[in-house]
Amino acid sequence: MKSKLLALGSWLLAVGLACTVPAGLCQAAEQFPPPDFTSSGYQIPQPTTPPARADFYELLDSLVLAAALGLATYLIYRRRSRRGVFWLMLFSVAYFGFWRKGCVCPIGAIQNVAEAGFGSGLVLPVVVTVFFFLPLVLALFFGRTYCSAVCPHGALQDAILAKPVTVPPWLSHALGLLAYFYLGLAVLFAVTGSAYIICEYDPFVALFRRCGSAGLLSISAFFVLLAVFVGRPYCRFLCPYGAILRILSQLSRWRVKIYPDRCINCHLCDESCPYGAIHKTTPLEQASPRVAGKGRILAFAALVPLLVLLGGWFGSRLAGPLSHMDSTVRLADRIRLEESKPEVGRPSGSPGDPEDRPTEEMSDRSKAFRRTGQAFEELYADAAAVYSRFKAGSWWFGAWVGLVVGLKLLSLALPRRYSEYEADRSLCVACARCFAYCPGEKGLLDPNLKAKIAP
């Protein structure tokens, strides 16, 4: 009993001591030298260090990506097979999703590439480079093949789409802009080294890992439910990588086509497309002469630089709130706040001693910072540097938003005439549904039918 009390006493004494000695000192010293184990011949064991995932598997991931992209292209352009694409989707969800747990993926790689590209000294592994660039290069030739069946996010949403509702074009156009804004924001936060928001708010990664924070899981549940009724909500309205692919696939060498020579204007492809990516033929009476829209186009073209400047100005006003995404800025603000408060219960002889302040006034972060003994001015300087990066970055972000909106308005003003059913280059994700629905595709129709029904 006495020894117990003694032990407790020594404990309390130690607690008291430790509270007055900064933790850094405790860590450095080896207070108790290890004993010699002579009588038992005890060997001091080594801690185990299970290795990180071997480089070989990274290479394998890249190879699987390349193979899946190749297969998707073959299935879409050669076999024109929805069934094949569907099986590939399931494979991608299983491999890149559930097996690889959604990491590494090109969507998140945007941030690594942006951060490394702006010279932060971030190491960009080969596998990240491959994952980011391969689908982009392929998009220049074959459109959004990556989205069709290789991306686990897209494949998952496509596979669970049961009852698609039609999103009205105006809403679809408007929501489609969100992806560009999200891209701009993600690049801004990555370049300033503040956060990887794409990964932080990824809608499916919690599902692939089958665990995650409550927030992530509810985002997952929301998107999964939504994807049952709205075709690929993430791909169409939010995915920042999809936004890049939309731009690049405008330039693609080949694209998904509904064969005009077999088309009998039966509407089936248009109705089968859950993404609103198939343009109907323009009725003749609506095909207005080009001249009529010229003034409007010029007006919108003049509006673009104006919107860019306006966006830039407005963006730079947002630098303050945006910079609070950065932990250094937040910490500097916190320290400033704590320093400006009247000090309670602080002995005069120990300036800056963190343990004497009431704990509720100090966050763990500021406590940890004070323990490092770093000068406040250094922190403030760091925060100011981050802020100045935000100042410039948020101007560009605002300008980007202005540019996107301006170009969208301009593109809507351009007259479009379609003499046949046509898949939109940027909106089509090559899911191959229309192939399965097209009667001409399957050779169900008499090859001369079109000639027969044509006026």
Binding site: A52, D55, V137
Partner: protein
Amino acid sequence: MPPENEKNCARREFLRTGLQGAALVGLGALAGRLVTPSASQKTVWQIDPAKCIQCERCAVNCVLKPSAVKCVHAFKLCGYCRPCFGFFQPDYNALNAGAENQLCPTGAIERSFVEDPYYQYVINEPLCIGCSKCVKGCTAFGNGSLHLQVRHDRCVNCNECSIAVSCPSNAFVRVPASQPYLIKGKEHA
């Protein structure tokens, strides 16, 4: 098709090919700039034990449940303290492995007799949740041989580690995948 339309199509095609070529060159240049042989090494997340303040966030903020962060015992640093400060509650009843005496909420530390009066403390990793209670005790009153490490047989190496985001002391760092641990008392392991 009227000839003017045909000309338009040809012009559009030419423009598209030109832009496509430009985009290819741009992507190639960007990729070429970013990938240099010296900078191609993969990195993984690890905890710098010198910066860790045992705030218990590792246990709750990992995307994995239980966390990929576990306690590691650097036996070489261990002082084999008679009341192990990582193992026993501050107000233990007796120096034995009774549940009421143990600090670890999951009983993940195994105490085994070595020779009088020394005991060896081994982390039973499947039980460890990375709460850092033992680390706190050991660091404050012992040698600090118990410390937290990201275990790479569990870590999924997220692009941005969600513990790193919430770590108040910036203890999460990227380390080369070839030397993925920062075990105390060693340069690397």
